[in-house]
Symmetry: C2
């Protein structure tokens, strides 16, 4: 149902300086960079030089708050650090139905994909779910 | 140099009850389960039903403390939650040399692989590095 971990989200104070460590030390490359005004964040996705197949790769996602919202709250309360894990499904609505999470309302998230965060946080882990294909809504 | 995210580590109080959520809600399957006595932990790796190629898949790793050590300290101080991200290299010693981390001493970690944790924690993220192939030491 969920074919892979799509990305791991890290809250950072400044994307530009943060992505340098991953570039210099791991050889990872920034790909998409975008602002999600609805959530007040700047996003940047990093991937390995081998990670050229977007349907199979697991990205590292840097998330910088640029306005009020849960990410700014997280940064103020807990500082920079690991924030969430995002699992990918071919069909998000179908997957949510199977999970008994029909009440969750997906939004158009990063890379124009349908996404949602679950209220359940198993073992204190914030879980995002996303649809592999770009959104048919956006 | 680092071809992918090998796994995301989550500290949990009890693996048996924790893995159930991922099985029931995401359809992910426990694979290797092992005790690392040197670190005082019980490990369990979960993967998607599609994740049959160990060289490309990103696992979720559940880590339960079973004795004194940094994982028990983490659980006592911060509770359950995201703990580290592990990146995979074909040759760990070569990769550490390129990073200027020659002083790091890899150990034989989960799944009999060479692994190490970096002292640097960019953006508050604990980074593990591992070698893709099973250890030539162990």
């Amino acid at each position: 149902m969920f074919s892979r971990i799509d990305h791991v989200g890290v809250v950072v104070a400044d994307i530009a300086s943060s992505q340098r460590w991953y570039e210099d030390q791991l050889g990872w490359t920034p790909t998409d960079s975008e602002y999600l005004d609805s959530v007040g964040v700047h996003l940047c996705y990093l991937r390995s030089p081998d990670g050229d197949d977007e349907r199979t790769v697991t990205f590292l996602q840097l998330v910088q708050p640029v306005g009020p919202g849960p990410i700014l709250d997280f940064l103020n309360q807990r500082g920079e650090g690991l924030h969430h894990v995002c699992f990918a499904a071919d069909n998000l609505h179908l997957a949510l139905g199977r999970m008994g999470e029909d009440s969750v309302r997906p939004f158009v998230g990063g890379r124009n994909r349908l996404a949602c965060f679950l209220e359940a946080t198993p073992n204190g882990v914030l879980i995002e779910l996303t649809e592999v294909a770009p959104s048919r809504v956006g």
